[in-house]
């Protein structure tokens, strides 16, 4: 069955399903009519560059995306829908075995059409060292972004997605397989698009995988940002951490839902999830639902936590005694809160580049 037929054969997802509890499919469908698969879907412009200098040998962008093995099971509705509209707009970022350029590679995705979609496949070779920033920018009403990928054995990857879209809706679906002994830092930075629905899934299907999922989310005005993160431990001796920081201002709403699933046989799994929400305006709302399913008893430990609160009064007072106004102190604390995960996503070089790019957004919010 092709993707279009598969999508059309599915029923509307139920609200009782964890993924769809807060942002229903109808709300993030490009036309709002869920029986519709739009014909006119634009293809964003994709290009590779480096922060400093030319794109090094050993990494390339190829048109088309092949199938990958070991991917986590994605939500049938979103993945079949995006696959159906990205048949002509799929790309592969191919990274050679042993690649180690020592600099950050940027994948720019620039959107121009009102409705756009792209499928990006990451194929990372064995023992490669890759630092990749996927920079999503431009203006559109709706962007669908499907990212599939497999990290090669023993590889070391920083995979950061930055969403600075000017308004509109972003539907992002990630399905990444963490190979044997590979280390992955998966970062999400979101301060763009009015509505975001993202479903990020990672499968640790081989022993020795090490995954660190990080989020720096800034919502303001009427934004509605809903991120769902699933981590599946399907092999022994796997390690995962999730640290998700959301700062919520204006009348915005952020949702962070997590699912940590430790399958039977995943002995020695060590997994933890932490969602933290900083409420910076009285009308903002933050919801967190970190779920845990553990079917193996020989685990190092599995846990999750969530905390929500306003800017700490003691910290404001402390900075006040150092001569900062309340507004300056508040801005500094919010920036520090977001930076605590941002700074863990990659090298100092990448961090400086990200901070410079995001400064305008923070300034616009008075942060």
């Amino acid at each position: 069955m092709d993707s279009s037929s598969e999508y059309l054969s599915l029923e509307e997802p139920r609200r009782a399903v964890h993924l769809w509890r807060y942002t229903p499919w109808k709300k993030v469908h490009p036309t709002g009519d869920i029986s519709d698969i739009p014909d006119e879907v634009g293809s964003p412009r994709l290009s590779l560059k480096c922060i400093d200098g030319d794109v090094p040998e050993g990494v390339r962008l190829i048109h088309g995306a092949g199938p990958l093995e070991g991917l986590p099971e994605s939500d049938a509705t979103t993945s079949s829908f995006i696959r159906a509209i990205t048949e002509e707009s799929s790309w592969t970022v191919e990274v050679d075995r042993g690649f180690s350029p020592g600099k950050t590679v940027i994948l720019e995705i620039e959107v121009e059409s009102p409705i756009s979609a792209a499928h990006v496949c990451l194929k990372i070779g064995r023992h490669a060292n890759l630092e990749l920033v996927t920079h999503v920018k431009g203006e559109c009403e709706w962007l669908g972004l499907l990212r599939t990928g497999s990290t090669g054995e023993g590889s070391n990857t920083s995979d950061v997605v930055v969403n600075v879209l000017n308004g509109g809706t972003l539907l992002r679906v990630d399905a990444i397989h963490i190979e044997r002994d590979s280390q992955v830092k998966a970062g999400t930075i979101s301060s763009g698009s009015e509505t975001t629905k993202s479903d990020l899934r990672y499968r640790m299907g081989e022993p020795g995988g090490n995954l660190n999922v990080l989020g720096s989310i800034l919502s303001s005005e009427d934004m509605s940002l809903d991120h769902h993160i699933e981590i599946h431990h399907d092999a022994p001796e796997t390690f995962s951490r999730l640290d998700w920081h959301s700062a919520c201002g204006g009348k915005s709403k952020t949702v962070g839902t997590g699912m940590l699933r430790v399958a039977k046989g995943s002995r020695g799994a060590d997994a933890a999830q932490l969602f933290q929400n900083l409420l910076i305006s009285e009308t903002a709302q933050a919801d967190s639902i970190p779920e845990l399913e553990v079917s193996e008893n020989e685990v190092v430990g599995c846990g999750h936590g969530t905390a929500s609160g306003p800017v700490d009064e003691d910290q404001l007072f402390y900075l006040g005694t150092r001569g900062l106004s309340t507004e300056q102190a508040k801005s500094m604390l919010i920036a520090a809160f977001l930076n605590s995960t941002l700074s863990e996503m990659g090298s100092p070089e990448m961090h400086d580049w990200l901070v410079e790019m995001l400064t305008d957004d923070l300034d616009a919010l008075g942060i």
């Binding site: 039977k264 779920e291 845990l292 008893n297 020989e298 685990v299 599995c302 929500s308 306003p310």
Partner: protein, 470 residues
């Protein structure tokens, strides 16, 4: 005492698993219909409004689909047509144990209820199948105006109060099982504590299912008037049969300004009972509601004691433990809704999974936009004792006010080898060491129980831990 071998195999070594011969005075046929609902109401000579409410609830029950969340596979196993919805074992409620039919009295004696009553209780109600068979309250409390009745008598004697509060905390439309309970409820407790009266010793209700394929649908309503306090304790057991029984209760608590209600449950149903209960309290200004909830038995428990913090300065406390053994799924948790400012809540949940059992915590903590300066803290700990067992945590936190401080943490682990090694180096066997660790794990719950319950629970857990090493 008879115990079919197939049932013994199915449910293991369950202490309260005997059953008595069934000597019912009225027994309805299996299955649910509008006629069954009308007959129950007529049998109890209820006022018209209650019959109407039952019928509306019945219609809602038939229209409402089964929950599409939780352990839907096990839930689908409930055969509503193969349940007896009303069974009367005794024609009247006894005021002394001598008034209770001998076989039923023996049952409660074996469960230790009359003995406990003499020692440490302010009042007792004992429900056998659908109705209360024994009821008593200390004279001094009665003189102070404390009302402690079975729900059927409460409706007869205090109709106005019941009409004012019944279904206000848990409306029949809340969920499929609250609709079922409202349609066929029978028994349960009705308690009213007048202004400023503090009931020092706990009152207890004991629920026993004896018959096969029985449905028990008690309804409890507790109203604590301004500045009063009460501690209500309930215990539950059932015989071991190879067919399933259904327990679907609704409990409504109303804590008026400054009142304090503590509701303690030690549920030890046999492993053939579906335990699907809706428990909810409304806390007014400066009042406090505490749920202390222990779930040891049952096939599937779905129970999430809830508190609606409606009045400023009110507080909710939920302490729950669950033990999930072979063939069991304990899906328990807590819900707290902060509607008013300066409200606080604490949830502590602990579960143990063993022999392939599944323990789940499912919670909802919500802070409404207009509720300023609220605090909530949720802690869930789970132990998985062996291969094949499972533990899940499904918490939800919705924070709609920026001044709120909310925290949730959960952990799943096995019993630490270091802990076992330490205790064994002090001369304990491995099994003893495990038993001590498990009792220590449950200690935040047991220390909140009346002593007799705590001792019994510790013994019960030691029994469950037998054979878990090696």
């Amino acid at each position: 005492m008879s115990q079919p071998s197939e049932a013994r195999e199915a449910v293991g070594d369950y202490k309260a698993g005997w059953h008595d011969p069934e000597n019912s005075t009225i027994r309805f046929d299996f299955g649910l219909s509008e006629k069954v609902v009308r007959d129950i109401s007529e049998l109890k000579s209820e006022p018209e409004w209650m019959t109407e409410m039952r019928l509306k609830a019945y219609r809602h029950f038939t229209e409402r689909p089964m929950p599409d969340w939780g352990n839907t596979e096990v839930l689908e196993g409930i055969d509503f047509d193969n349940v007896c919805y009303f069974l009367r074992s005794s024609d009247e409620t006894g005021e002394t144990w001598e008034d209770v039919p001998e076989d039923i009295r023996n049952t409660f004696e074996r469960l230790g209820i009359p003995e406990a009553e003499q020692k440490w209780l302010s009042g007792v109600t004992a429900q056998y199948e659908s109705e209360t068979v024994y009821h008593s309250i200390r004279e001094d409390l009665e003189k102070q105006g404390v009302v402690f009745l079975d729900m059927d008598s409460g409706l007869k004697e205090y109709e106005e109060i019941v009409r004012r509060y019944f279904g206000t905390v848990v409306p029949f439309s809340d969920n499929k099982f609250s609709a079922l309970n409202t349609a066929v409820w029978s028994g349960g407790s009705f308690i009213y504590v007048p202004k400023g009266v503090s009931v020092e010793m706990p009152v207890q209700a004991y629920f026993r299912i004896n018959a096969k394929n029985m449905g028990q649908f008690e309804r409890t309503l507790i109203i604590a008037d301004e500045g009063s306090s009460i501690h209500y304790v309930e215990g539950c057991t059932a015989p071991t049969y190879s067919t399933d029984s259904l327990h679907s209760a609704v409990v409504e608590l109303i804590a008026l300004p400054g009142a304090h209600i503590r509701y303690t449950t030690v549920q030890n149903w046999s492993n053939n009972v579906y335990n699907l209960v809706t428990k909810r309290g409304v806390a007014h200004e400066d009042s406090k509601i505490e749920w202390v909830d222990g779930n040891i038995g049952s096939k599937l428990t779905m129970k999430y004691p809830a508190v609606i913090l409606k009045g400023e300065g009110s507080h909710a406390e939920v302490i729950s433990v669950a033990y999930a053994g072979a063939g069991q799924h304990q899906d328990a948790g807590a819900k707290v809704h902060h509607l008013a400012s300066n409200t606080t809540s604490n949830i502590l949940s602990k579960s143990i999974s063993k022999d392939g059992g599944r323990g789940s915590y499912r919670g909802m903590a919500k802070i409404m936009p207009k509720a300023e300066n609220c605090r909530m803290n949720i802690v869930c700990d789970a132990l998985i004792l062996d291969e094949g067992s499972r533990s899940d945590t499904y918490p939800t936190m919705e924070v709609g006010n920026a001044s709120a401080h909310c925290e949730h943490e959960a952990s799943v682990s096995k019993v630490g080898d270091e802990q076992l090694f330490y205790l064994m180096s002090r001369g304990h066997t491995e099994a003893e060491a495990l038993g001590m660790i498990v009792n220590g794990f449950f200690e935040p719950f047991t220390k909140e129980l009346p002593m007799e319950y705590a001792v019994e629970l510790n013994k019960l857990m030691a029994l469950e831990m037998e054979g878990s090493i090696g």
